[in-house]
Symmetry: C2
Subunit: 539 residues, 2 copies
């Protein structure tokens, strides 16, 4: 490659009428000439005065460019003798991992920078120029790791987060945004600096106190404010427990079916999933499950996700006793427990635990708005300090201002009244949806898990392909989720659709369900027993 004269190189390339300032263009083009080897190491640059005259630009501009090139190590300026292109070519021996004659002795940290004077250029071995390697066929790159590939392949997250019948999303348009904004403005007026720094481990103390009071009454948990750890939600709470309490390769019981997000969090921390079946009483371990106690069990006792059954008291007591005897950690995910229609909310598993084996996790997002990202966990008393240190060390949390707003929101009674109002509203929507289902399908398709939460499950015949229904519904403008995607074991999962009704206006439920029903009839009910499940990905 020919050595270029800098003035010529720049003169043909500067775009004087362009949007990019001349300074930036000059700098960028000179860097490019050095990086590509067209201005090789040791080349003397013209004096700033000469270059400015050659290009017809201000000398100050050139001086700034040279300063920046010097600061970034592209050139070496020596008083009196001028400015030379530095040797910044990759060290070929280092790149290839061979022994280097000039290998630095270990432990010379904080030594002075070595200055590559132009005359040193010859001691470096040139590597293939960039253009050469770029022309070679792109090698097959092993981009993602095995766990990364699995995470992406199994990802359950949806591209859409709103609309009929997106499960698990509350009606955020009903959130009392004015009240929130007023409380927020009041706190920002003071802008207490203590609330702008990192959160101390565990979160804002008044919020922890308010939450422990709330959860003691609403969920029969037993805890002190100290046991509450504020997190950004269920995902982070599970992640923290997993990283503190499990090692890579440990086994975790998960319910079959279970929440896809928990599955992803567990697996990406190196946990092996052991799916355990559920029946009408909740988690129902088989003998082979019981004979190999897991390190961790992740359960949704108050409202199995996604099927909705409640874990019976006998099963709760058995699980707690099993955990006590075999040193199993239990993570109780108490999602959606505020929204029960008809029946009263059941007491938490945590409140029954005498052995300190239960870590209770919950979130405020479904009660208020999901973007809030405030969750909480209740750590066993003897682990409180460890969890507080862990959450600060791993996630470096902050958001104390928002936690303070949340505290005022709770203390002023807005949380309770909003939840009460939403429970009534979602109860209406649930009924409208059930009525629509019954009117269309009678008892042909069973409805499950409708006693609580923000969604129900509409069962489909075993021969149907729920993923195909979901894809067709998506194309028709209706979001539903296939029940099969919540199973870990692909063999014979139960077919069905998750329908969220909470975020759909009352008068939107009927029309959206009509659309969905047509899709179901065309996709799931007309076909005879299909030999192969569709492999079409769910949107």
């Amino acid at each position: 490659m020919d050595t270029v004269i800098l003035s010529d190189w720049l003169a043909t390339r500067l775009d004087r009428g362009g949007a990019e300032p001349i300074y930036r263009q000059t700098l960028r083009l000179t860097q490019q000439a050095i990086l590509t080897g067209q201005l090789p190491p040791g080349t003397k640059l013209p004096s700033s005065r000469t270059l400015a005259e050659d290009l017809g630009i201000a000398r100050n501009t050139v001086l700034h460019v040279y300063d920046q090139l010097t600061a970034e190590g592209y050139v070496i300026s020596t008083t009196g003798s001028g400015t030379y292109v530095a040797d910044t070519r990759p060290d070929a021996a280092a790149v290839n991992g061979r022994n280097r004659p000039e290998a630095a002795a270990a432990g010379d940290a904080a030594a002075q920078p070595a200055t590559h004077a132009p005359t040193h250029a010859a001691t470096h071995t040139a590597v293939r120029p960039a253009s050469d390697s770029a022309s070679q066929p792109q090698r097959e790159r092993n981009d993602l790791s095995t766990r990364g590939r699995r995470l992406i392949r199994q990802a359950g997250v949806s591209a859409k987060q709103w609309g009929a019948f997106m499960p698990g999303v509350p009606d955020v348009s009903e959130f009392p945004a004015r009240t929130w904004s007023r409380l927020q403005a009041r706190l920002w007026k003071e802008a207490n600096p203590d609330l702008l720094t990192y959160a101390p481990g565990g979160g804002y103390r008044p919020l922890r106190r308010a939450l422990s009071d709330y959860l003691r009454v609403a969920r029969s948990v037993k805890c002190t404010p100290d046991q509450i750890i504020i997190t950004t939600g269920i995902h982070q709470s599970i992640d923290l427990a997993v990283r503190l309490l499990t090692d890579v390769g440990d086994r975790a019981w998960v319910e079959e079916p279970c929440y896809w997000g928990a599955r992803s969090v567990l697996q990406s921390s190196g946990i092996t999933l052991a799916p355990v079946p559920v029946d009408g009483e909740g988690l129902n371990p088989r003998d082979e499950d019981l004979q190999e106690p897991p390190r961790l069990a992740l359960v949704t006792p108050s409202h199995q996700y996604p099927l909705g059954m409640v874990m019976s008291l006998a099963r709760r007591r058995t699980l707690l006793e099993y955990a006590r005897q075999h040193d199993v950690w239990i993570i109780e995910d108490d999602y959606d427990s505020e929204f029960r229609y008809g029946s009263r909310p059941l007491a938490s598993l945590q409140g029954l635990d005498e052995a300190g084996r239960v870590i209770y996790v919950g979130s405020l997002g479904k009660m208020l708005f999901p973007g809030l990202r405030i969750g909480y966990m209740i750590a066993p008393e003897h682990l409180v300090d460890i969890f507080r240190t862990g959450v600060a060390e791993l996630y470096r949390e902050g958001q104390l201002m928002q936690q303070a707003v949340m505290t005022d929101f709770i203390m002023d009674g807005h949380l309770t009244s909003h939840v009460r109002r939403m429970r009534a509203l979602y109860g209406e929507r649930r009924q409208i949806l059930i009525d629509a289902i019954t009117a269309r399908f009678g008892s042909e398709l069973p409805v499950m898990g409708d006693e609580a939460g923000l969604h129900l499950v509409l069962g489909l015949p075993d021969y149907s392909d729920d993923r195909a229904v979901v894809a067709a519904a998506y194309d028709a403008g209706v979001i539903v989720r296939p029940l099969t995607s919540y199973y870990n074991d692909p063999a014979q999962p139960r077919r069905g659709l998750l329908l969220g009704y909470a975020c759909v206006p009352n008068d939107g439920i009927g029309p959206a369900f009509d659309t969905l029903a047509r899709v179901i009839e065309q996709t799931a009910l007309t076909s005879s027993r299909s030999p192969h499940a569709s492999s079409r990905p769910c949107p």
Copy 2:
């Protein structure tokens, strides 16, 4: 254990003048009697009328208690024949993991709940009563996992987050809270529901556009808005890259010394750390490092953390070429690069990368306030979709309202002007601190890494124990961090103190340094070469 008559049990225990309502007391005490076996399975409860009369309380109260007991599965109510205590004792066979004769067949998900009629009680084997097991000596419990223990043992997070000389904390009292609050109030007035739900993978698009514009100019990165992924900060950005691109057991180069938080994040995801020395030109791999290419290299090229040197252009090019040839991922942590005093900021490594091996990570917390929790990463173009899916799947992010406020803050020019103002302010404070150091110690103690960032490193003699200095300083009211704690290899780390000057008012620097200087003189300089380093933990 004797069977109790419910009326007697309650009559002696109800606290009629207490704060707890009679309903709650009656419910709690009855549950307790059932859980402890004092009301065994099959016991018939008195009729609600009888119990109400016996206790002298309202019949409605008793009816509510019975309803709740039924709902929670403590009792079985059969119309006509009365209310019986259900058998909810733990299943002994299940607890012990032995084969159970009544083991449920696999796959009976979503079956109807089994009702434990009172007459079934005899088929259950009684387990040891709780009181019995509680009296046994508490077994040694293997509470934390190996990785959990290491995380807590190595935790670098400080209990205090504010005050002289806390490193890495900006002056949050200078943050233009009024401006922020005004922008925030404007957005909350509209409260666009789209901004209250979960974030789509990658974050708020206008913020991504604003950040890509900002970073292109300020940091010479090459990226489109699509390549920007909004995270909650450096920790989450590193965590995401690690979970997508590495597997358990993979090796990662980290600089020696390095940031404790990154170390914790990497290790808790199963990564083996390979510390690589740094010298005056930044990362300086030894032959043994080069011969075993890692999966990942985590570097701080623009300002080595915590020592402050800049990675030379030659080293940058060598690292990039090595990464290209050996399929190494590079995470470039560009922290604090906005705050340089004197020299101009250097271009990012990402901008030099032609092979798509660099993941650039940064954060807005140090520029504005740490509690903000807005960070960003730039993904290589061919991995953008994967990173967007990964961030949504693993963390379920939200906070779009705050991201929208941030966008307005940037677009209205407040970010640039605030950073400019802070750079001048921190520059003054840096100079005051350096002057104080020089006045007290002359050239006896070297100052390192003072050209950029929010902290500098004050070197201490090799024979001194910097952890002991830190502990003594903490007791004297001054927060500093020991340089040794940033090293992975405990053999012969360099001794020193990290001093953050950004969050200390100008007139507070002198007095705080006087206090620290006395501690240094008493703890680090008077002692002759001490044979053992103190094992006192750093606060």
